[in-house]
């Protein structure tokens, strides 16, 4: 099928008139029609006729022109319902668009749907949604991950060519790992947050997710860059990620932090990453074991900072100017608002919030020292395989521990590329992450692309698609 092809190949075929954008769109809707009753990745589907009309008039100004994509339902899309997977915004129609969406529209990419997630980004399993959980296309009894489970499951199910996710504590990387796809958690400030529904403002990042590392590079090149509407967006020049992608990785230095491979890590994941490590060595990279002793404090720092910021961000939902009442927040979201309110409240502020901000400085120092000697860290994305439904929800500690390996990166602001690196004995996908220095997305793409050129994990598809 066409949606198995890379963005580069699709762009060539579209320009050569071998295929039309409308063909791609029809394939997307047919796939959704066939599989999404089971997978449940879509919250709002854009009207097919409207989309095909857009596809017929598309001008080929960028490699993304005419290509169908989805967004996690956390981005404002003018005229298209945006819910953040919460009943509070069940009937919210944004009067303006997020910068990321505007840039993709200008590049001619075609939005087909707004996808499922944990409400407000609060979760690692897409069970904390008011629109029923998204199922993992690799095993329907298991979670598709979260918070961006919808876009990841949709890409694995070939509903679209790429997706836009968001990562505050692992929300783009965790579902990528559990759905056998790739995703880039960008450097904080690399992509504008304007018009993205805020979870935790100092941690939120907007990024691409797709079948291939290479596809993510094409998408990031379009969405990255300074935005006058987001004062925290960076003026750091945007590289040509597509060019950097093809750089040699010979002699690159990878750090293998031993703390990431302790008791908390599932044995199958440990084994898969050990093999990936060998693969990198055979590709000419140098891999050395290092120590990052702060890791064990990452979850505590994150679960003080993120709930604190979310308790403030979510205070705007009062049902006056838009949306419904605060009684509609889910239990998980109420838990986070209450935890954050506690950490910020008089008498506890110094012991929790301020302490976590100090710890944040220590994390920045420890990783900076390490990344002055290495080009990237090689680490697992999650400590566990995709869980059965109910295993994470309503167990606050298990829920937090799912984020063990992903949250340090957000605390520091570093970029991290997640990509497939194997399967467990039950056929469930396993992912790894490559964490780099600030604004080193191009180097990470090169490492990930070299790995995908010499392995074929990313080509494997859920059995459901073969029938």
């Amino acid at each position: 099928m066409l949606l198995d092809l890379s963005i580069q190949t699709l762009a060539q075929k579209l320009r050569g008139k071998e295929i039309s954008s409308a063909d791609l769109i029809r394939e997307s809707y047919a796939q959704i029609d066939r599989f999404d009753k089971k997978v449940n990745s879509v919250i709002t589907l854009v009207d097919q006729e409207e989309v095909i009309e857009k596809a017929k008039n598309v001008r080929f100004t960028s490699p993304l022109s005419g290509i169908p994509f989805v967004m996690k339902d956390a981005y404002l899309t003018k005229g298209v319902r945006t819910t953040a997977a919460s009943k509070i915004l069940d009937d919210f129609i944004p009067p303006y668009s997020a910068t990321v969406y505007r840039r993709l529209e200008e590049a001619g990419a075609i939005l087909i749907g707004k996808l499922n997630m944990d409400a407000w980004g609060h979760g690692a399993s897409t069970e904390n949604t008011d629109y029923d959980p998204t199922k993992n296309p690799w095993d329907m009894t298991r979670s598709a991950g979260g918070s961006g489970g919808g876009p990841a499951a949709a890409i694995a199910s070939r509903f679209c060519s790429f997706g836009i996710g968001e990562d505050t504590g692992g929300s783009i990387r965790n579902p990528a790992a559990w759905n056998n796809i790739s995703a880039m958690k960008v450097t904080y400030g690399r992509v504008s947050r304007y018009g993205a529904i805020a979870y935790a403002s100092s941690l939120d990042t907007m990024g691409p997710t797709a079948k291939l590392v290479e596809d993510c590079a094409y998408v990031l090149e379009v969405i990255a860059g300074h935005d006058p509407y987001d004062a925290t967006s960076s003026s750091h020049p945007v590289s040509s990620y597509v060019k950097e992608l093809r750089q040699s990785i010979r002699g690159k230095r990878l750090a293998f932090p031993t703390e990431f491979y302790g008791d908390a890590l599932d044995g199958e994941i440990k084994e898969a990453i050990a093999k990936a490590r060998e693969e990198f060595v055979s590709l000419g990279a140098i891999v050395e074991e290092v120590s990052l002793p702060l890791l064990e404090h990452g979850v505590s720092v994150y679960y003080i900072l993120a709930p604190s910021e979310t308790s403030s961000n979510l205070s705007r939902y009062d049902g006056i100017r838009y949306g419904n009442g605060r009684d509609l927040f889910t239990r998980e979201t109420k838990r986070r608002i209450m935890t954050g309110t506690y950490a910020l409240s008089s008498g506890y502020y110094d012991a929790y919030y301020k302490k976590a901000q100090k710890a944040r400085s220590l994390f920045i120092d420890q990783y900076a020292k390490l990344l002055s000697r290495y080009d990237a860290l090689l680490a697992p994305v999650t400590p566990i395989m995709p869980p059965k439904f109910g295993q994470l929800l309503d167990d606050p500690v298990k829920n937090m521990m799912a984020d063990l390996y992903t949250v340090p990166v957000n605390i520091i602001g570093l970029p991290s590329l997640a990509l497939p690196c194997g399967f467990g004995k039950d056929g469930l996908p396993i992912g790894m992450q490559l964490v780099g220095r600030m604004f080193s997305e191009g180097e990470l793409f090169a490492l990930g692309h070299a790995y995908q050129e010499s392995t074929d994990w990313h080509r494997k598809q859920p059995v459901m698609l073969e029938r």
């Binding site: 004062a231 925290t232 960076s234 205070s315 100017r321 409240s345 400590p383 937090m400």
Partner: protein
């Protein structure tokens, strides 16, 4: 690290139902009695877990509140028409409006 919360000890704060009801008022969250009970336990577990951070020495460390490295990002104090909503757009998602205004509940009470 084990994937389990440490056992509660007397030195760690344990939240009471009264604390939760106070926090709910601060956060403007309407809670049912059942939700309040559940949250007393669950927020307590979360707070207890993150209290492990107290073991990390941070004396003399400066706090980090943001990681951009940017300071004092200013812009001209000018209206950008491209960003403006019309009155109709601004009101388009409100449940209760009157003569082009949002309706809000009374916050002051008569004596």
């Amino acid at each position: 690290m084990k994937g389990k919360a440490p056992k509660s000890t007397k030195t760690t704060p344990v939240l009471t139902k009264k604390d939760i009801d106070h926090l709910a008022r601060l956060a403007s969250l309407p809670l049912t009695a059942k939700q309040s009970d559940e949250l007393t336990e669950q927020v307590g577990v979360t707070v207890h877990y993150v209290s492990q951070l107290q073991a990390l020495p941070t004396e003399g460390v400066t706090e980090t509140s943001q990681v951009t490295g940017l300071e004092n990002v200013f812009r001209e104090d000018e209206i950008d028409p491209a960003r403006m909503l019309t009155q109709a757009e601004a009101l388009s998602n409100a449940k209760r409006t009157y003569n082009g205004f949002f309706i809000v509940d009374r916050v002051l009470e008569e004596k």
